[in-house]
Symmetry: C2
Subunit: 190 residues, 2 copies
């Protein structure tokens, strides 16, 4: 009966989808079981800490993905404009043009955040810092780079909320475009 295929990491995508859609409290073990294709035994084998460990693993996985796919490329981009473009492309893909919620942002809003407050804050701090670094390297004044980076990360989160609520993918993409334009303008003025 053992597949030897299953690793802990294989369960994470399904796990993340359930948590994202139903929230921490709403993600029951039956839903999790269905989404991951794993029985209770397997789940508790991979996550002895239970639901809380599953949530922590998902959070770490999402944060890790953003780190590798967005934050680090952002910091290491040769051309600031190319770095920004790459970020926006990945953001649009990841959030499915605003139809997919931000798990970390959503958990930050409710009581779920308490056990994970540091991870959640760290994720956003890292994102802002990476963007700020890029802008500063592009010649943007430090304080302007800081507020601009905040505005962009905040603007993306707002676009996720609004475009999901209105069920409007074009709104998300248009907002990303406007945020990109603001970044370009700041770089051009520098």
């Amino acid at each position: 009966m053992a597949r030897m295929i299953a690793e802990r990491a294989d369960a994470l995508p399904g796990l993340a989808e359930v948590f994202r859609e139903y929230g921490y409290a709403g993600a029951s073990l039956s839903l999790i079981g269905t989404a991951t294709g794993l029985g209770r035994g397997s789940l508790y084998h991979f996550f002895p800490g239970g639901k809380q460990e599953m949530a922590a693993a998902v959070l770490a996985d999402v944060a890790g993905w953003f780190d590798a796919a967005i934050f680090t490329p952002l910091e290491q981009a040769d051309d600031p404009r190319a770095g920004i473009d790459a970020m926006m492309v990945e953001v649009d893909r990841y959030f499915r043009s605003g139809q997919r919620a931000c798990l970390i942002g959503a958990w930050g809003l409710g009581a779920t955040r308490d056990p994970f407050a540091d991870s959640i804050a760290g994720y956003f701090r890292r994102w802002i810092a990476a963007l700020q670094t890029l802008l500063a390297r592009g010649g943007v004044a430090e304080d302007h780079a800081a507020t601009l980076a905040q505005d962009v990360v905040s603007g993306i989160q707002g676009a996720v909320v609004l475009s999901r609520a209105l069920n409007d993918t074009s709104l998300f993409r248009a907002t990303l475009g406007r945020l990109t334009a603001r970044l370009y303008t700041a770089l051009a003025a520098a």
Copy 2:
């Protein structure tokens, strides 16, 4: 045993707080009972439809509050700038400078929205329309007013997410200030 004091409306604030903090699934009847000071009997007397009716009532209450305190004043403001200022003051107060989540925005992100998708979308549409109307009356070009209104509502939602995640009230207020400045600039150019 009867108090004869309690009305259905008296339960709404506590109800809203629980739903906001714990989400729909996480808001158990015990939590709701504690927060409202009402037993199961009273709750099901006022809300025969159970949890779902409680949620719908809270949603309608929040939307009604915004309508009366923000949207309508926005539409009827004599001076666009004064209308904007009043909105920002109320927004900052309502969201407690970003420490209080937006119940409607949060529910729009997850599976909870399904039964309430129309109400949630209507809330945001109304907000954007009111702001857009104000800008248009201030002489801002229609398409510019539309995108600007979207950006501001989206920006407020993003600021709630970000400032709550970072536990930073000054970030929320600063973002509101920058959004206000953008609106002023558009009005000045008109």
